[in-house]
């Protein structure tokens, strides 16, 4: 019955944190370094080092501080946020396919941001983030109500509802960007999910908001861990089911809102990362949350570097790459026996 268990066939012993944690942190540092170092213009190590430690306003300093650092910060923030939001959504909905992109939360945030830019002429990044929160909240509530979250809800119906609402909201966003030629350019790149194009201040703000969201996640982690065992078990063990649900919802809204406002709608990070980690660590929710926060940025920054070099000197929006990488995982998940057993025809 539990959708999040790895199944009975898993026989290998799980690797201890003492081994894995340093590896993951090392990978993260590598991804961060690659993200700063690789770009459309090759910089020497000395130039990079000088720009990071003692900027004097040279061209390379500007490239590093105004282009690459914000890009990397947003990659870290959005990667953590989306991966952790994926774990929370999978736990709350007991649906292994739940994910901010698939369930339409990112599309809701984008639509609200597009309204802010096109209709209300809001230019300030901090202000658009509030709209992103609002959109994320409304879209997740809508999908939850229509798709029927809770006991007896089918995996298929919730996922489909998310895809349907997401499609409508993306179409509306596209329409808004088309009727306003001025907004078209700024919305077009962002609409595909891209890490670049934000200022240093905006990037730092995004990092801070995501950090607040992650603190919230730490607070509700015990409750989520109990919920993963099933609602009845959680209640029987004295878990505050309602509080964990509400906290989880708030965390999803803050994390997805911040990520989408900064980087646009990026799908599949919240699906790929938790499932990859689950294959290594099993279903322990708290571990999944911690490692997702670290591994999300690895995936997103890695994909972004790949996007930059693949058809250089052009660049592919990173959201396109995550969709390309994530879709096969979705197929594998659906074809695995776990999901089929629960996925009654909707």
């Amino acid at each position: 019955m539990t959708t999040l268990a790895t199944g009975g066939r898993w026989k290998l012993r799980r690797p201890p944190d003492a081994v894995v944690l340093p590896i993951v942190v090392l990978l993260l540092l590598t991804a961060v370094a690659a993200s700063i170092a690789v770009g459309s213009r090759a910089l020497t190590f000395d130039e990079l080092f000088a720009a990071l430690t003692a900027p004097t306003g040279t061209e390379t300093d500007l490239i590093v501080r105004d282009v690459r650092l914000p890009r990397t910060f947003i990659g870290i923030a959005a990667g953590s946020a989306l991966a952790v939001a994926g774990v929370i959504m999978q736990t709350l909905t007991r649906n292994p396919l739940a994910e901010p992109g698939l369930l339409g939360v990112n599309a809701g945030a984008s639509f609200a941001v597009a309204i802010a830019i096109v209709v209300l002429r809001v230019g300030d990044f901090g202000a658009t983030m509030w709209f992103a929160f609002l959109g994320a909240a409304l879209a997740s509530a809508l999908v939850a109500v229509i798709g029927g979250v809770g006991r007896g809800a089918s995996i298929g119906r919730l996922t489909l509802t998310g895809v349907a609402i997401g499609a409508v909201l993306s179409a509306a966003t596209a329409a808004l960007s088309l009727i306003d030629p001025h907004a078209y350019q700024s919305l077009r790149l962002w609409g595909a999910g891209a890490l670049g194009g934000r200022s240093f201040d905006a990037a730092v703000l995004t990092l801070l908001v995501v950090a607040v969201g992650l603190v919230l996640v730490v607070l509700i982690a015990p409750g989520l861990g109990l919920l993963a065992l099933g609602e009845d078990t959680a209640r029987a063990l004295g878990g505050q089911v309602g509080a964990a649900r509400l906290g989880g919802f708030l965390a999803i809204v803050v994390l997805c809102g911040a990520a989408t406002a900064a980087a646009g709608p990026i799908a599949f990070v919240g699906l790929l990362v938790p499932h990859a980690l689950r294959a290594v660590f099993g279903p322990d929710t708290r571990r999944l949350l911690i490692y997702s926060a670290l591994a999300g940025p690895i995936l997103l920054l890695g994909a972004d570097v790949l996007c930059g070099v693949l058809i250089a000197p052009r660049s592919i929006p990173v959201g396109v790459m995550t969709a390309f990488l994530g879709a096969p995982v979705l197929v594998a998940l659906v074809l695995s026996r776990r999901v089929q057993a629960e996925g009654a025809p909707s």
């Binding site: 007896g152 996922t159 509802t161 349907a164 088309l178 009727i179 074809l335």
Partner: protein
């Protein structure tokens, strides 16, 4: 005609259907008139008629017959083809959500057509071949993965969603890698639009629609039995494998030709057959009624796309996504309520 004798239709329902057919024909004519008359230069209906019969001044004739008539005719025909394609796939997957755009065939056909464009060809024949090839390849993939035994349910749909996402990413990469002019053409066409569609498509579209319609008429009795259950169909002489393959091929060709002409137009294939089924109160899949519903749906969406934010013309595909997505959400919420 064994299917017709299996399902007896009471006289009241027959009369109801006749009334619906007549009224939908009126709506079709009204939408066509609106399409011919409305635009940046609005032309009064009497002048539209004059132009259609070769009278009136030459400027009006050019606008009405030369520019707007192809769009109206192609809109109706493409809507009908999309709906027929959706109806076929919904029957062979036995799933109201088993439409070619959700299953990823639209994205695949679009990939095929894009590759042809990037390869440097925009001829009608090359585009059509590319789209049909891409559509068949993606359909073959989905059928190989899950749908072979008519597998309904969530798996099929979610594999389709995944394939759509992946092919969508591939399509974006192709567009980005192509040079700017090609990419721009592809991007506009990629949203699915009747804006700027030209008359060279009329013969291709009409021939495909007519021949597809004839084959479907021939297959329809077998498909109706198939819907009732594979075992029963087999005992009555239907060969399910052959039926599935021929229905799938016709469905993909109908869909792919529309994509070659107008780009991917979402959700008409999904919604039209189900709407037709409800309006006509039909048990077995009503193919003719689906085609009519599809034509009306696309003509209406196209009018909306062209006039809603005039003079800015939205791609028709955006309007159908909005309408179809809302319809899908409504359908899912209805299923939700019934279940409780």
């Amino acid at each position: 005609m064994s299917a017709a004798s299996l399902i007896a239709v009471p006289w009241k329902t027959r009369r109801r259907r006749r009334i619906i057919w007549i009224s939908s024909a009126f709506v079709l004519v009204a939408l066509a008139m609106a399409g011919l008359s409305l635009g940046d230069a609005a032309i009064p209906i009497p002048e539209v008629f004059a132009a259609l019969f070769g009278k009136g001044d030459s400027g009006t004739r050019l606008i009405v017959v030369g520019w707007r008539l192809p769009r109206v005719v192609l809109g109706a025909a493409i809507g009908a083809m999309l709906a027929l394609s959706g109806a076929l796939f919904q029957v062979i997957t036995r799933n109201p959500l088993g439409s070619p755009d959700i299953l990823g065939f639209s994205a695949g056909a679009y990939t095929g057509a894009l590759l042809v464009i990037v390869g440097g060809s925009v001829s009608t024949a090359a585009l059509t071949m590319g789209a049909v090839g891409g559509g068949i390849a993606s359909a073959a993939l989905v059928f190989a993965l899950v749908a072979w035994r008519g597998a309904g349910g969530t798996r099929l749909i979610i594999v389709g969603i995944a394939l759509t996402a992946m092919l969508g990413a591939v399509n974006t990469m192709i567009e980005l890698a192509a040079d700017d002019v090609v990419a721009h053409t592809a991007a506009i066409w990629g949203a699915g639009s009747l804006n700027g569609i030209d008359g060279r498509w009329i013969p291709v579209i009409l021939v495909t629609l007519l021949s597809g319609g004839l084959v479907i008429a021939a297959l329809a009795p077998g498909l109706t039995l198939y819907e009732l259950g594979e075992d029963r169909a087999m005992s009555l002489g239907v060969r399910p494998v052959r039926l599935r393959i021929s229905a799938m091929l016709i469905g993909v060709v109908l869909l792919a030709v529309t994509i070659a002409a107008a780009g991917p137009i979402a959700f008409v294939a999904l919604a039209a057959p189900q709407i037709a089924r409800r309006v006509w109160r039909s048990g077995p899949m009503p193919f003719a009624a689906s085609a009519m519903t599809g034509a009306l749906l696309l003509m209406f969406s196209d009018l909306l796309a062209a006039r809603l934010f005039a003079p800015t013309m939205l791609p028709t595909g955006l309007v159908t996504i909005a309408i179809g997505g809302l319809y899908l959400a409504w359908m899912l919420s209805g299923a939700n309520r019934r279940r409780r």
